[in-house]
């Protein structure tokens, strides 16, 4: 397991680790894999790509690990990728990312841009307008997400009225200057691809400046329940996020899993999309290994590709062609309880298309239903 317990993206990666451990606990409680117990081996790569690479190699060479669960930022996945390819091991990656990748040694269980960006752009431009201000962390996921968002708002005759990138370690003061520029530019909405601990500074600076989410909300692909907990519900309330999973999903599976998770954690819990992907991918691995009887990549892949699982977000499936997952795009508006009120959701899973360059709004495959508010 390679999830950071320290560093800039630790808060969200801790939830991925917790979801992974919870799923392993469930697998073991149900008799393990054909009677064998799953034993996690964990390291803390400290949100640092170099550490990810060396610890991945250590897992493989010293700990005899064949399957790795982990990685959040793209830079860390890119660091682990050559290692798992070199030793022919399998990486399960439970995070949204920018697409344009395939490796026979990776299973991607987070959303590709065609499973969240298009739906978010569609919703925001229809409800608020198409003048957008882009603010993001300074790395590849924000660059690529902003490219897609710019293309999409242009389809609605909109435009980008501002674009700012800040370091992952940016503090509150840096965001106050961004927010004062936002106030000056008066966009219809703000598209944030800020990740990690600095997320809270953006929302706080926005609230302190007295801006109103009803008129000029922040739309994000990465601000989930974990970030809201870190900043305080009052700062996030009224802003929007697109994700395949929200804790507030009203389904039997989600309620059942949440109850079990509360029991596992011994109290109230806060979950999010990355937690959910981390959770269901362990179960999909366990199911595959029950069939194959081994954790060798050649034996696991035939069982994993095309496999389905009743996840908290709905019934997901691993697409054999892309190794990405069919997921359920949803749009949520953060509420006063630190949770999301789901305002739109897909009734059927959206097929992953990681190499899609040109998106179009209103495409029937990306349509999601508006819920009664």
């Amino acid at each position: 397991m390679l999830f950071s317990n320290t560093g800039v993206t630790a808060p969200i990666e801790r939830t991925q680790l917790s979801g992974t451990l919870f799923a392993i606990h469930e697998v073991n409680a149900a008799g393990g894999i054909n009677g064998r117990e799953l034993v996690p081996v964990l390291y803390d790569p400290q949100s640092d790509a170099v550490q990810y690479a060396s610890l991945a190699e250590r897992l493989i060479l010293n700990d005899d690990v064949n399957v790795i669960f982990g990685c959040y930022m793209s830079s860390t996945r890119k660091a682990v990728l050559p290692i798992v390819e070199k030793w022919n091991r399998l990486l399960f990656y439970p995070t949204i990312y920018e697409g344009f990748e395939f490796s026979n040694n990776v299973i991607y269980t987070g959303a590709a841009p065609n499973q969240n960006s298009v739906q978010l752009a569609d919703f925001m431009t229809l409800n608020f307008g198409s003048r957008v201000y882009l603010v993001g962390s300074n790395y590849i996921y924000p660059f690529e997400s902003n490219r897609i968002m710019t293309d999409l708002v242009e389809q609605r005759n909109g435009k980008t009225v501002g674009k700012r990138y800040l370091p992952l370690t940016a503090g509150y003061e840096e965001f106050t200057s961004v927010v004062s520029d936002i106030r000056k530019q008066q966009p219809d909405f703000i598209f944030s691809t800020v990740v990690g601990e600095s997320t809270q500074h953006l929302y706080r600076a926005y609230a302190e400046a007295g801006l109103n989410p009803k008129e000029m909300p922040i739309a994000s692909l990465t601000t989930c329940e974990a970030e809201i907990k870190a900043m305080g519900a009052e700062y996030a309330a009224g802003h929007y996020t697109a994700a395949p999973y929200f804790q507030s999903i009203d389904s039997d599976t989600n309620r059942r899993v949440l109850d079990l998770y509360k029991e596992f954690m011994g109290g109230e819990v806060v979950t999010n999309m990355c937690w959910e992907a981390a959770y269901f991918q362990v179960h999909m691995f366990a199911n595959a290994m029950r069939q194959s009887g081994t954790d060798q990549v050649e034996a696991l892949l035939p069982e994993l590709l095309g496999a389905e699982f009743q996840a908290p977000q709905g019934r997901v499936r691993i697409d054999p062609a892309t190794h990405h997952t069919c997921l359920y795009p949803r749009i949520g508006r953060a509420n006063s309880k630190g949770q999301f009120t789901i305002v739109r959701e897909a009734k059927r899973p959206v097929h992953p298309d990681p190499y899609l360059v040109t998106y179009s709004l209103g495409d029937w495959t990306t349509q999601i239903d508006t819920l009664d508010l």
């Binding site: 793209s74 697409g99 990748e101 690529e144 360059v357």
Partner: protein, 208 residues
């Protein structure tokens, strides 16, 4: 067509040893692998990082890391006429990075993690393509100037034909003779005639 085997070694392969290659890549495993492989091939390699604002010596080829940190390679020497042939070194394949690669004017690309295998072929292909392109550009420039000169001569001929009421052949003979007497090109005489005519018509002098 000659059979393989009877063909002598191409120049592009022969001059690998004298090739001056610059590597602009972070000092990590990939950067080191790339430098070592280029040294094995026998190129004269120099490594730079971070990117220098200026290049103080000429290079034939430059390997440049196009990564999220250096997507916008706004360096004046990259766009200059005698800039080295560029090979992009990429670690992502999404449109943002591909766009960066295009803006760099790369002739070839290699992907990380760097493997020794493939560096040589990429290097050769980049030089062949860039060399061909340079030659084509030169040819186009030459043809364009030739075309312009023909147009100039045609204009000059019609000026003479109108003002002196002579045939096209005679007009050309006048231009050619003048060029021989003054020891300049036919095009220069034609230009002088056209320019003189323009000035005269501008000041309203009507010679006929």
């Amino acid at each position: 067509m000659r059979r393989t085997g009877t063909r002598s070694t191409p120049e592009l392969l022969k001059d690998l040893r004298s090739l001056r290659v610059a590597v602009f890549h972070p000092r990590d495993n990939d950067g080191e692998q790339l430098i070592r492989q280029l040294q094995r091939i026998g190129c004269q390699v120099q490594a730079f990082w971070p990117l220098p604002a200026e290049l103080n010596e000429p290079f034939d080829v430059a390997f440049l890391a196009v990564n999220p940190e250096t997507i916008v390679l706004d360096l004046p020497w990259i766009k200059s006429e005698d800039a080295p042939i560029r090979v992009a070194v990429v670690n992502y394949e999404n449109p943002t990075i591909v766009d960066g690669m295009l803006r760099l004017g790369a002739s070839a690309v290699i992907a990380t993690p760097i493997r020794s295998f493939g560096v040589l072929s990429t290097l050769i292909l980049a030089r062949q393509l860039a060399g061909d392109l340079r030659q084509e550009r030169k040819r186009v420039a030459k043809l364009e100037s030739k075309l312009q000169s023909i147009r100039k001569i045609t204009d000059a001929k019609s000026v003479l034909m109108n003002s002196r009421k002579i045939s096209e052949e005679d007009a050309y003979a006048v231009i050619r003779d003048q060029a021989m007497v003054k020891r300049v090109t036919i095009e220069e005489i034609a230009t002088a005639i056209v320019n003189a005519n323009e000035i005269l018509s501008m000041v309203g002098v009507n010679r006929s």
